[in-house]
Structure formats: C-alpha cells, structure tokens
C-alpha cells in the first residue's frame, strides 16, 4: 500500500520534538534552519512533525530515504550529535501502552517495516539535550553548535543525493 503523491520527493527530512520544552525542540530548530536552504535541495521534502506520533509513519511511506532529527538521551555530553540507524540502537524506556501519546519513533519505524512502507535508508541524527524543561529556546550550548549540526546534515544530504 505504498503512498504515491505527485509532489512527494523520494527523500524526506523529518524534524521531531516540542519547541516549548527547551532542548526537546532541537530537531525542529535544525529543521527550520535546513528548510531555509530548501531551494538548494529541490528533491527533498522538509517536514516538521512535532510530537505528531503516527504522522511519522505516513511521512516515511513511499520514500527511499529519510533523515530524522530528534533530541535523544544517549549518555553523551550535552550538545553531542550522533548519527545512527534504527538497527544500531534500542529504546531504553518501556511504553505503558496506556496512551496514544507516547509515540516512539523506533516503534513506528518497526511498524513501517512490518507493513512494507519503510524507506530503504533511515538515518537518525540524535542530539543530546542539556535541559528539558519549560522554555521556548534551546540551551546556549546547543544553539552555539547549530552551524556544526547544519554542516554535518547538509553534507549527509549532499552525499545521499549524488
């Protein structure tokens, strides 16, 4: 049941997170900055999915490549960005299954695979937060490294597209 849309590009960059919880929103901050360069990447869709949970499944369907930008607790120093794939990590929290509101992107990728709607290539860029608390801006340490994040992700995109 692959999704076919006339205007859908084979590569998608997805930003996840919550802008109102400081570093939780780093994926969206990076996505916004990248989307300003959208003209340089006409074959890429840039999607802000916030905390939209299952929307990720639909955004993945029908694509060949997906880059996911997200805040991630990885036991690294605050501000560290790591590139990984879904197969190289496991979720260290256990969902309660009480609520639809606990969308774990790794579970959604697993579901996408099971239903045959998963891109061939998924790359996750996780950024270790310093602060997750009410606040509309990311921590200075993450903000100061934004150019570095953009450089790495842009390089990845260019490599994927050539």
């Amino acid at each position: 049941m692959p999704r076919k849309e006339i205007n859908m590009n084979p590569t998608v960059v997805i930003g996840l997170g919550n802008r109102l919880l400081a570093d939780e929103g780093i994926g969206l901050v990076i996505l916004e900055a990248l989307a300003r360069k959208a003209a340089e990447f006409p074959a890429v869709d840039f999607l802000e999915l916030g905390t939209g949970g299952m929307a990720v499944l639909h955004a993945l369907a029908g694509r060949k490549t997906a880059l996911i930008l997200d805040c991630a607790r990885m036991g690294a120093a605050p501000g560290t960005m790591r590139r990984f794939t879904p197969d190289t990590v496991r979720a260290s929290d256990v969902p309660s299954c009480f609520s639809l509101h606990e969308g774990n992107v790794l579970d959604l990728i697993a579901l996408a695979r099971r239903v045959g709607e998963c891109p061939e290539r998924i790359i996750i860029f996780g950024i270790q937060p310093e602060t997750i608390a009410p606040g509309e801006t990311v921590s200075p340490i993450l903000q100061s490294r934004l150019p570095e994040y953009l450089g790495v992700i842009t390089k990845e995109l260019n490599a994927l597209l050539t």
Partner: protein, 432 residues
C-alpha cells in the same frame, strides 16, 4: 476469601511519569486501590500570559500531538468570544471538517493501535501485522486519510497553521475538497470492515457496568462535537459554556499531580460514551445502524464500550463530512480575508476533543495580549471516574489470577483513551 495480592503497575516513560495502578489486598480485604497520575505540571496557562491573541492557538496546539486541532479550535473560539468576533458559515463548516479529520485519526488509532492488541491477545500493534495484516493495513489507511485531510485543511499533519481567529489563513480549493470527498466516500467500506472486526471481538470486552454521570456538549438536533452548551445525564438543563468552572469543580487529589473534577456526583465521565449517551438520537443513518449492530442504546454505562462508540463516531464524522463538503461545494469556496481588531475582554469556549469535552478561557488587555488563561482538559475530568471504576471493578474480579487482574485494569484505563502526556517524546536510546 483470604487472598493477599499486591499489584503495582508503574510506567515511568520519558521525563514524566504516566499513570500508575496500585492495588493492595491483604487476607481478602482491599487495603488500597488507586489510579495515580504522577506526571509533571506543564504550565501552559502561565506560558500564554503576555502572549498576543494571534499566537495563543499556535502555542496551545502543542499541548497535544493527537488533539492539536481541538486545542487550536477551542482557543480560537474563546478568543472570538472575548473579542466579539463572528465567523461565516464557510469558516464554521471548514472548521468542523478540520475537526473531523482529527477524529478520524484519533479514534481509528485508539481502536486499532491500543485496543485491538488487547482483544487479540497481543502486546502491541506490531505483532498484529503478522496475525491480522488486513486489519492493520486498513487502520493505517484510515489514519492516513485523516492525516491527508488535516494536511489539506489545517496546513500540515499536526499542529495546525491555517486556523485563525476570524477565519482561515489558507482555504482549500473546490478541486481539493472534491478530491478529499472522493477519498472519504471510498473509505466507507473500510470503516465498515473495522466496525465488523470490532463487533466480532466486542464479546471479549468485560461486562462491567457502573451508574455514571456523563457530561458532553449538547446542541438541539445535532450529534455535536463543536457547538453547543454543557449537558449532563444528571442535569435537567444544559449549562452555558461560559460557566464551565461551575461544572468541572476542579480539586486537588493527593494521588495525582493533575487536577480532578466532579459535578453532581463524586466523579463524572467525558468522551465518546458521554457524547453517545446525550446525543445518540442525532446520529446519521449509517452511524445509527453501526450503533444498533453493537446493541448500543443511550444509558450504556460500561466504560469498556467507549471504544465501540469511537467506531460509531468515526462513521458519524465521515457521513457528516460528506454532507458538509456537498454543502460547501454547492455554494463554492469564497475568499474571506480575515480582519480582526483586537480588544480587551474575557471569553470561554468548549469543543469535544476525541477524549471528551475541552474548555479554555482567556482574558486579554486592549492590545490583545493575554492576561490569564484557564484550560481544563478531558482526561483530567476522567481521572476521578477511573478511580471510581477501579473501586467498583476490582471487587468483581478478585478471584482472577493477578496477571489477568492487571490486564483488565490496564484495559479499563485504555478504554478511556487517556491523554496523559505527549509533551515530550525525546528518544531514550542505548547503542547495541
């Protein structure tokens, strides 16, 4: 019975805790039954203070990734109430349509993603793909339809950008609406397939009944999700939305960081079951037929049937959406520039979020900056009722094995489709 039992289901995920279930039984005597909600406060009411009227719905839409349209719409209605803004029939219908796309997404997901695994004996939806591939694919297709409708009407898949006080920042074209209508029509057989699948499994839902007060929006002649005043199964007449604080009577419970609510009794329920009990006579024909196939009648008080009513409501919103689009297309979509002059005032509004009636109140200064806010969400209104259900249900199932008791209580919580928190979803990972 001299049974001694201790059940503690703690779910601490992400930064906040989710709901906990605590049951202590000693020598056959119940010592403690608690539904605990230990999640951290989120301060949205403080966050919007000082913000412009133009930004409120954008901020509060972040309260929830599943019901972001409901939060946007109720905020916009409250702003319009405060500033004396009226909207056109076109805006009204398009908002209701947008709201319905959220219902399709939310209800389908709850039924397919959280409840179906319980009824089919699986831990989650992922293994269901192997055992029931057609059902899972239908659920995903229906959810995707809601998602596409939301992209068209709200401007993106979640956290709307087109909904504004006074009207829409972007209107769908007639061609787009016609295409969406065709997809909705084509989805009706899929809806019937889901209803039949749930019907085949509904016998597995526990037959637990507890007399309950049900609270929902009511509007004469309509199975309403958007307009109306506050109705109750215990009240002779509806209460105006502006008086919602006298309905919710929020109070603090030591077992919860979320506020609890009560009205005529020591608890009340909101959500699909409440809407059905108050408005069932106004269902559209196919929705009415679907309700009848489940034997549902107003007065139903088994909380486990909330899920079944969600199936009926999904049929209802698709049927009504088809009619609304016909109506919109018959007059054509007209450009309507949004003109708002902010002014000082206070306003309140309600909509039915998928999980139940949702209230917002705001006050603004003469520049349109927010002075205060009061938000009361459906799940907070259900917490006391979940506790009362636990107290009535546990004595009925004490003879079951502990694992079964635990599962039944988890299923009871899930039947309320709680919106415990989606404020964060930060990945917690270990490298393998």
């Amino acid at each position: 019975m001299s049974k001694t039992l201790s059940i503690q289901v703690n779910h601490v995920t992400r930064v906040e805790g989710h709901g906990n279930i605590l049951i202590n039984l000693k020598d056959g005597k119940i010592e403690k039954i608690e539904w605990q909600v230990p999640e951290a406060p989120r301060f949205f009411e403080a966050m919007v203070r000082g913000k412009s009227w133009q930004d409120i719905q954008t901020i509060v839409s972040r309260i929830c990734g599943i019901c972001s349209v409901s939060h946007s719409l109720v905020a916009i209605k409250a702003i319009e109430d405060a500033m004396g803004i009226s909207v056109s029939k076109q805006t009204d219908y398009l908002r209701i349509l947008t709201h319905y796309t959220e219902y399709i997404e939310s209800h389908v997901l709850h039924v397919g993603y959280l409840v179906a695994p319980d009824l089919l004996g699986q831990k989650s939806v992922v293994p269901l793909v192997a055992s029931h591939p057609d059902l899972v694919k239908t659920i995903i297709a229906l959810h995707r339809l809601g998602n596409e409708g939301m992209e068209l009407l709200a401007g993106r898949m979640t956290h709307p950008v087109t909904l504004k006080p006074g009207g829409f920042a972007r209107l769908p074209t007639e061609t787009e609406l016609r295409a969406f209508q065709a997809k909705l029509k084509a989805a009706v057989p899929q809806l019937v397939q889901v209803a039949e699948a749930v019907l085949a499994l509904a016998g597995k839902l526990p037959d637990f009944r507890r007399a309950t007060e049900y609270v929902a929006l009511v509007e004469p002649g309509t199975y309403t999700f958007y307009h109306g005043s506050i109705g109750s199964s215990d009240a002779p007449a509806p209460v105006p939305v502006r008086q919602f604080e006298s309905v919710v009577n929020e109070y603090v419970s030591p077992q919860s960081t979320a506020k609890w609510c009560k009205w005529h009794r020591d608890a009340y329920a909101v959500g699909a079951l409440a809407r059905f009990n108050l408005n069932a006579s106004f269902l559209r024909p196919l929705a009415k037929k679907t309700a009848a196939s489940f034997g549902l009648k107003p007065g139903v008080c088994n909380p486990f049937l909330n899920t079944v009513v969600q199936v009926v409501e999904t049929v209802q919103v698709v049927e009504h959406a088809l009619e609304l689009i016909d109506d919109l297309l018959s007059t054509g979509i007209k450009p309507e520039p949004v003109m708002v002059n902010p002014k000082a005032g206070e306003g309140a509004a309600a909509v039915e979020a998928p999980r139940g009636i949702l209230f917002h109140r705001y006050a603004f200064d003469d520049k349109g900056n927010c002075l205060k806010a009061n938000l009361c969400i459906p799940t907070n209104q259900n917490h006391a009722n979940i506790q009362k259900d636990f107290e009535a249900f546990v004595p009925q199932i004490l003879d079951r094995p502990p694992e079964e008791i635990r599962l039944l209580l988890e299923m009871l919580v899930r039947s309320y489709d709680p919106c415990i928190s989606c404020s964060t979803h930060c990945l917690n990972v270990e490298f393998v």
